[in-house]
């Protein structure tokens, strides 16, 4: 590749007592009346309160809270929250949650900064200008999406079930808070699937057509952390070291794919989510090895280069050079099998409740997904159906 772009303007607050630094950051951003966005589960189990308490102790009280964000948020939800923000006269956004909450918040920020009422009217790729600055702080509560550091928001269009991508550097938050306390309560299955989502981001970021030296540096470092910590974080959720490593890995994988895109795993995964309601992270877990096998003829060298990060340098060097790409896929499959044994993470589409009847529609949606354009191997509807059959 003779040209690439790289951007990451997000300030990261990482480690112990990171939450308690949010008020100071809001002050620096001239924010006094934040709208707190989260979901009903996080409000119920007290995760949201943990953050708002840390803010209130330092004298920042949220102007309003909105917790009615569904798992697969939609354009309508984004527009509704933007209207609520204006009604409540807020001046900033604090998003607490996983990918859906953070992507919804990004959408809200885009609507507000562009002074529009409808996010659909500004859909596109790098097509909006800077607009009004809305101070924006995110607190991820899963270690997987990496959304806290990406220039993309994925939001469902309820009218046709398509997950739309809004790509713009202006959706990146100002501040992301990586506090290990936020993921400690995550159940094993969610820990495992979101961790595999982060692995998928890193693998696709390092091997897609848009991969570049900087994104690959972040991606490979993320792969190493995931290979070393995901099983521990799943089995022993209270292991703060493993939790923190996974949170960092997720962020690094997010920075990687934000600057080099993803590929067919995401294209098909978005379609599976839109058509069959398969949770994003579960779809990524199931599809990753199958798409890697599909891409093998075009990406063997890139996959082989990932092996040392997955299994360690000694094992990788002991593997014959022509077997390393396949060994990398097998290492990912082995990790999936361990996680399946540990928490019942589904590894096939049938186990995830997908019916073969939906494959044609999933494939049609997948070939229209933007992530496919940078996949190392092109894919037609028929080829996507083959991948789905292999993953069934």
């Amino acid at each position: 590749m003779s040209y690439f772009e790289f951007q990451n303007a997000v300030k990261l607050l990482c480690g112990e007592l990171a939450l308690e630094r949010i008020p100071s950051e809001l002050q620096h951003l001239n924010a006094k009346r934040p709208l707190v966005l989260s979901d009903a589960v996080l409000a119920k189990i007290g995760t949201m309160a943990q953050v708002t308490s840390a803010m209130e102790v330092e004298g920042v009280t949220p102007a309003a809270c909105f917790t009615d964000i569904p798992v697969d948020s939609s354009l309508a939800v984004v527009n509704k929250i933007a209207a609520f923000y204006r009604e409540q006269d807020c001046d900033s956004i604090v998003a607490i949650g996983g990918g859906s909450v953070i992507d919804t918040a990004k959408g809200v920020r885009l609507v507000l900064s562009q002074d529009t009422d409808d996010i659909f009217s500004i859909s596109g790729l790098e097509n909006v200008t800077n607009g009004r600055h809305i101070p924006f702080v995110v607190v991820p509560t899963t270690a997987g999406t990496g959304s806290e550091c990406t220039g993309v928001a994925v939001i469902k269009n309820d009218e046709n079930g398509v997950k739309m991508e809004f790509l713009s550097p202006f959706v990146e938050p100002d501040v992301a808070v990586i506090d290990p306390r936020m993921t400690e309560g995550l159940p094993p299955k969610a820990t495992a699937s979101t961790g595999m989502d982060a692995l998928c981001h890193a693998v696709e970021a390092c091997t897609c057509l848009q991969a570049n030296p900087l994104s690959t540096a972040y991606g490979t470092a993320a792969i190493r952390l995931i290979a070393q910590n995901l099983e521990t974080a799943t089995v022993n959720g209270k292991n703060r070291e493993a939790r923190f490593s996974m949170a960092l890995a997720s962020t690094m994988a997010g920075i990687a794919f934000s600057n080099s895109m993803v590929g067919a795993v995401h294209a098909i995964g978005h379609a599976l989510g839109g058509v069959c309601g398969v949770p994003h992270a579960v779809a990524m877990t199931i599809l990753l090895p199958h798409v890697m096998r599909y891409n093998l003829s075009h990406s063997a060298g890139d996959y082989a280069a990932l092996l040392p990060w997955l299994v360690g340098m000694d094992t990788a060097m002991a593997t014959p050079a022509d077997k390393r790409a396949e060994a990398a896929i097998e290492a990912i499959e082995a990790l999936g099998t361990k996680l399946n044994a540990a928490c019942g993470l589904p590894l096939t589409l049938s186990a995830a409740g997908v019916s073969k009847d939906s494959f044609a529609k999933v494939a049609e949606f997948a070939v229209n997904d933007g992530a496919l354009i940078v996949n190392p191997r092109a894919a037609t509807v028929e080829q996507v159906v083959e991948i789905l059959n292999a993953a069934f």
């Binding site: 500004i122 859909s123 790098e126 097509n127 057509l209 997904d369 940078v374």
Partner: protein
Amino acid sequence: MQRMKRFFQKLTVGIVLRVVHAALVELKSQDTRVAEEFARMPEGLSYSIYTGHNGPVLHVIWQGGKLRRVRSLQKAGCTLHIKSMPLSFRLFTGQMGLAQAYAAHAFTMAGEVADVMRLARLVNIVESYLFPNIINRRIMTDIPAPQLCFLRTYARIAWGFLTFKYRISA
């Protein structure tokens, strides 16, 4: 020298844009994959392709079973803006594929990503006819197999231009 170069690039890009439109019109009835893409295309979907600053522009609209070239569009369903004339020149002369252009942030887009993907598939098929395989191998990860001889495609396009088949619709 610089102005001459830019003039040459603009001229070339303008011609290739017209040829791409013509090829799409011809292949719609000759290539089953192009026919299928158009069959799935929503009625009224329009594309505007801008090339660099003050460069040639192509506006097309899919209406009544025809891909019509029009003088202007108030707001196309999908607007691509290639960021500079040298990039446009590379894209339309087989030095860079659409996927590579995307990867290199060569254009911005307003509209739905699905419509760009549709266009990307169509352009890949068109390029597989217009460019020799030595070029296609460099700009595509997989080359769509041609369903008819490229000479026949060129002949049909030439005849179309001679008979004003691709002129701007009212």
